[in-house]
């Protein structure tokens, strides 16, 4: 397959996709849901092949959990599709309506972005979620999933595509890329692809960002922090920190660095060190933090200053003591990745300062960083999480897949009349 030619064809189909009615897009989603239900046997059989290959390749159990596509995961993605069907149409929303002068009316109306390329990790449920989000939002999408689930992906895509096109969506609504070299071809399609959403390792996302002129939405790093303030309710601190570090350490929204306000350290550090130790979490910290932890009788490595940039993605954590919320915010803005950061405190002033001054997509008070997720935000699903500040920030659901256009209706209006003072603008919101 020649991705460049296919992307060109898709671009030509994009306006028709954008104009499809919400009835047709919802009908397509219902058809996808029914076809996935009817095809579950095929899908599980394909997944069994992928799992056998994973066994052969000696892939770890934790990764195999992601590759697996079983009854439970099918049920979850079907529930996600039902949720998407229930959500209102993200297209055609009038975001601004203004009369500029008599007979001259301006409207800002939501429209799809157009053609989106999504490159994602080996997780079959992601393929279903991403294609459903693109169908609902009227975008054409090129999907490239991780090769470890290629059999499952191929079967899922065939079922989804045939249901969507069968429901009347344009031929170019969805396309699957299967070869790794097609990624580089996709990166060169800046005339036809409007947006790329890469998911995966820091290195992979950086590679994408550095090798294309297409706008990229997503995140390379998830260096998330929890700051334990002097006014924290320490009884909630340990469960929140353990959840953020251990509930799913490979996730981008898992916490990497714990900052502890010095006045809280004496009381809190022994409890925290014991909890980390019991949970099998390796501790590293500044010399000050490491010494204090060792005094409590636990191991803690000493780390260099610039290692605080590090995303571990496993059961390791960085620890530092700070002097209050101001120093915590400085540390986070300097070493963080603008993803999600949480303050634990009962002090409203400290919380307000933290949430105002931390320059991240998500700023939390008294809860785990792991809530940064489209499903948990009630978006139905997400295509990814953005740490960029333009367009969409944080978990990206339907809202992040639309843009707008301005429609201006006149009766022969010309600018010369206003430039020469024959007419004046009389702005009036409608």
């Amino acid at each position: 397959m020649n991705i460049r030619e296919e992307a060109q064809k898709m671009k030509l189909d994009a306006p028709a996709m954008a104009s499809s009615s919400i009835e047709m897009r919802n009908a397509a989603l219902r058809a996808v849901r029914d076809a996935l239900t009817a095809g579950s046997g095929e899908i599980f059989a394909a997944n069994a092949k992928d799992m056998a290959a994973a066994d052969k390749a000696g892939i770890s159990d934790s990764i195999k959990k992601r590759l697996k596509f079983n009854e439970g995961k099918l049920r979850d993605v079907l529930a996600g599709i039902d949720e998407l069907i229930r959500l209102p149409d993200p297209l055609g929303k009038v975001l601004l309506a203004r009369e500029l002068d008599e007979g001259l009316r301006l409207y800002r109306v939501s429209v799809p972005i157009g053609v989106i390329g999504v490159i994602f990790e080996a997780r079959p449920d992601a393929l279903v979620q991403i294609s459903s989000l693109c169908i609902k939002s009227g975008n054409c999408a090129i999907l490239k999933g991780g090769k470890e689930t290629s059999e499952t992906n191929r079967t899922l895509f065939r079922i989804i595509y045939s249901a969507a096109a069968g429901a009347g969506l344009p031929k170019g609504c969805l396309l699957q890329a299967e070869q790794h070299n097609e990624i580089d071809e996709l990166l060169s399609c800046d005339r036809d692809v409007d947006l790329l959403i890469p998911r995966g390792s820091n290195q992979f996302v950086q590679y994408i960002m550095n090798h294309t002129k297409i706008p990229v939405m997503g995140h390379a790093d998830g260096v998330c922090h929890i700051y334990v303030d002097r006014a924290a309710d320490l009884s909630m601190a340990v469960p929140v920190i353990l959840d953020a570090k251990t509930q799913y350490p490979a996730a981008c929204n898992a916490v990497e660095t714990i900052l502890i306000d010095r006045p809280a350290a004496d009381v809190f550090l022994p409890t925290l060190a014991k909890a980390f130790s019991d949970a099998g979490v390796t501790m590293r910290g500044t010399k000050e933090a490491a010494d204090a932890i060792k005094t409590c009788g636990y191991d803690c490595g000493v780390m260099a200053e610039d290692e605080f940039h590090r995303e571990y993605l496993d059961l390791t954590v960085s620890i530092r003591l700070v002097d209050g919320v101001k120093e915590a915010v400085s540390h986070i803005n300097r070493f963080g990745s603008h993803h999600t950061d949480s303050i634990l405190t009962e002090d409203d002033g400290a919380a307000e300062y933290f949430m105002q001054m931390v320059d991240s997509a998500g700023v939390y008070r008294n809860c785990s960083t792991r809530f940064a997720d489209g499903y948990r935000y009630g978006f139905g699903a997400e295509v990814g999480i953005s740490t960029g500040k333009l367009h969409a920030r944080g978990p990206v659901g339907l809202d992040g897949l639309v843009t707008y256009k301005y429609k201006l209706f006149g009766e022969g209006h010309i600018v010369g009349d206003y430039a020469e003072g024959k007419r004046q603008f009389r702005f009036r919101d409608l």
Copy 2:
């Protein structure tokens, strides 16, 4: 001046700028307005030096009009500042408020982008507009204006900066870059600068886009079209087209290509050709169009197909005959630059098809493309016009200078409870 160091300092001031109250930002705008009024003598004296240098350099009258900063332009920018002061605060708007579960509340709140670099043409009024928009929106800004008005820019900037800082805004609120080599330094500040807005020639904007990792908002080309449908009211077609082509031909929203529906050509072409000829507009077209125009007794060059990508920025126009609105839309989506395109028609169906299917920031019916402008849209002013589809599209005012962050308030909530089924999300919009 070391731009990289200054940008780092500015980044540290950005959270304080973002947290400044609307009272302080409006007070700063009032102080800027008053200081500009009080300093008008100085400003005009500086501008006189720039104008003398322009005379010496033999710069054309049409460009000198842009360099000039006189009573009239001062009045216009002061009116723009007053308009900005009246506009509501773009920051702190709650864009989404949702209870995820008991005691767990999510808010999407508008915040400034952070540090913005704006590189603009030699037009002193632009410096005032851009700095006012950045002050109102709580962004820190690095400004680099065209060198032909360096004396005026320096005086304006000194007055504006001292008024803004005097009103209590952080030291790093505004910075002026004056040397051309500082542009390249600015392009390398991707850790500290969140957004670049370049204005100027196609070549210059392309250079910026190709030499930085910082997100860029703006447009390289303004290849705008007017399509004269078979159902057009031909009496409005000539004035609208003349306005779009001749009222300010160097503007990005001036029309470059006229598409004429074949059934309208016989009647309309002779009138249009005469009007263009009388206005001194050079006509170029497909062989078909050129032959028809020559038959009417006017000159028309024959152009190659791929020249329809061309932005003339002067009194030259491309002409093509098409078969109806579908072919017009195909031409525009293929050869246009997604800026602004207009259909002239009394047929609602044709207008709706055109405005739905043309993939541009502005789609117009029965009016001139020259209306694509922040002031004319009632935004008070604009920092630029975006042909990109992400974040902001079309004229960019205050709305395009803000992003959002998610604030999540909990009471010790952890994700593990939901993963294990101990708790369920109960989404409820607040």
